[in-house]
């Protein structure tokens, strides 16, 4: 019968019209990110970090710009840990390259901004701010 296919199709949509909703109301309701999710900002655990710069060496797109200073006890410290998120491929190679597991993602996916400069941030500076704010 001509037009039967159309009716069958309509029946499918009608069935779903009264079914469970697939979508979520985004700003009010948020889907939790998975354990392995890579995205957002890099979190540096300065207590663990040995300033070996292996993360910057693993980066395919030179998104990491690190400065290391050596203190009076000849111990290496990370002075700046600049992550240029605009260049980042989010490939996770830096996190995997870390021999002491000092790097992780903050899993915040709402990282769009108005100006390109705002994509660049310093993970060490962010740690200081967090300490200040408790």
């Amino acid at each position: 019968m001509q037009g039967k296919g159309l009716l069958v199709g309509l029946a499918v949509t009608l069935k779903h019209f009264f079914g469970k909703k697939e979508t979520v109301q985004y700003p009010e309701e948020k889907i939790p990110m998975t354990e392995a999710f890579r995205g957002g900002k890099l979190l540096l655990d300065e207590k663990k970090c040995i300033s070996c710069k292996l993360c910057a060496m693993a980066c395919p797109n030179t998104a990491l710009d690190l400065t290391v200073e050596i203190d009076e006890n000849k111990k290496r410290h990370m002075k700046n840990y600049i992550h240029k998120a605009g260049r980042c491929l989010y490939c996770n190679f830096c996190v995997e390259a870390c021999p002491v597991d000092a790097l992780s993602w903050d899993k915040n996916y709402e990282n769009s901004c108005y100006y390109r400069e705002n994509l660049t941030y310093d993970a060490v500076e962010n740690n200081r701010k967090d300490e200040k704010n408790g």
Partner: protein, 365 residues
């Protein structure tokens, strides 16, 4: 006698049915197409050149960005080429995991095809259903490697991480629902008379034409040529699995749609077998931290959702490839657009373009 004059019409680069930024110059005689010239390069990023400045490991994330709807298959192609060059033996478990992921990504990619074909023909509802189901596969990948599109999961020598129990149960769950999903597409689209009228006997590509142009993948099989690298040039333990290759008869738009629809069930069969016979052992071979393959060159091919994905890598013995050339199936398949459109109407260009299923990231590279 009425005198007619041909004229040129530019379609794209910003057109909803060009699947990205593709411009097509149509030479028309009234409604009939005399010539269709694809004009590309709007998404060119110079990936082949970028790879020359990176180590073999660092090249991997860039292959994700070629065919971004089936990144797993691109990862697989690149890794197997490098492994062939550096003579790395991949553990059996890793090979099986690779097969599962590549086939899952093939299903996801064909879902995009069905969705975009439907929306190009004006059936917006037909798009929503495959895209909803594709999301289930992306959830699996997100759980597995933390990304929805650019996975970088398949690594040189194996895979990034082992299959977790949760991921296996998610895959099982998805496969159980897949038959219902395909039935739904059949009800919505395959049985729809308007859909059939638009696709049947339009944009015919004969087997001879397809072979002359070097077309591969589902497009070639829709023309009736049985050529699938998973069977004809087995790699990655595909010989262990029992599956068939769906073939078309005429090579029209309808055949290209049906072949892809049937391929989804075949892929599901492969995944079921791979999960059932998943061997134990390592998921990563021993690969040196600084990989310096011996001098020489290699060309390795794998079967992607769009056709033959080939990587030609030249090594000069250093840690970086001297030259990488990528055979992108979308780029070569797009050549057929002119032949497929000649003599048909403007409305059929959209359907022809959709059944070629080009991904502009891959065409422009």
């Amino acid at each position: 006698m009425i005198q007619t004059e041909s004229y040129k019409l530019s379609m794209g680069p910003v057109h909803p049915s060009t699947h990205g930024v593709l411009q097509v110059w149509l030479t028309l005689d009234g409604e009939r197409i005399l010539r269709a010239d694809p004009c590309m390069g709007y998404l060119h990023r110079g990936i082949e050149k970028l790879l020359e400045k990176r180590t073999y490991f660092q090249c991997l994330p860039y292959t994700d960005r070629l065919d971004y709807v089936s990144a797993m298959n691109n990862n697989l192609g690149y890794c197997s080429a490098v492994e062939k060059l550096a003579q790395i033996e991949v553990p059996k478990r890793a090979q099986y995991i690779r097969v599962i992921m590549a086939e899952l990504n093939r299903i996801a990619s064909h879902m995009i095809f069905i969705g975009s074909l439907a929306v190009d023909l004006g059936a917006t509802t037909g798009m929503i259903y495959p895209f909803r189901d594709r999301e289930r596969i992306l959830d699996i990948f997100n759980e597995l490697c933390g990304a929805r599109m650019t996975y970088s999961y398949i690594r040189i020598g194996g895979v990034k991480s082992d299959l977790a129990v949760k991921v296996i149960s998610m895959i099982d769950d998805f496969l159980a629902k897949l038959t219902d999903m395909i039935d739904e597409y059949n009800d919505l689209l395959t049985g729809n008379e308007i859909f059939q009228y638009r696709l049947k006997n339009t944009s015919i590509l004969t087997a001879k034409q397809a072979m002359e142009l070097g077309i591969t993948g589902p497009m070639l099989r829709a023309s009736g040529v049985s050529y699938d690298l998973r069977k004809d040039n087995t790699y990655c333990s595909y010989e262990d699995f029992d599956f068939s290759i769906p073939l078309g008869e005429k090579g029209d738009n309808w055949d290209r749609y049906i072949v892809r629809l049937k391929e989804m069930s075949e892929s599901a069969k492969i995944i079921k077998q791979a999960l059932a016979g998943l061997p134990t052992g390592e998921f990563m071979a021993k690969v040196p931290k600084v990989l310096k393959p011996p001098k020489g060159e290699v060309y390795d091919v794998t079967e992607g959702p769009r056709g033959e994905v080939g990587y030609h890598i030249v090594s000069d013995g250093s840690a970086k490839p001297y030259r990488v050339h990528i055979r992108r199936p979308s780029f070569i398949n797009l050549q057929a657009l002119d032949i497929m459109c000649r003599g048909y109407l403007v409305g059929d260009v959209v359907a022809a373009m959709s059944t070629i299923d080009p991904i502009m990231g891959e065409v422009d590279c």
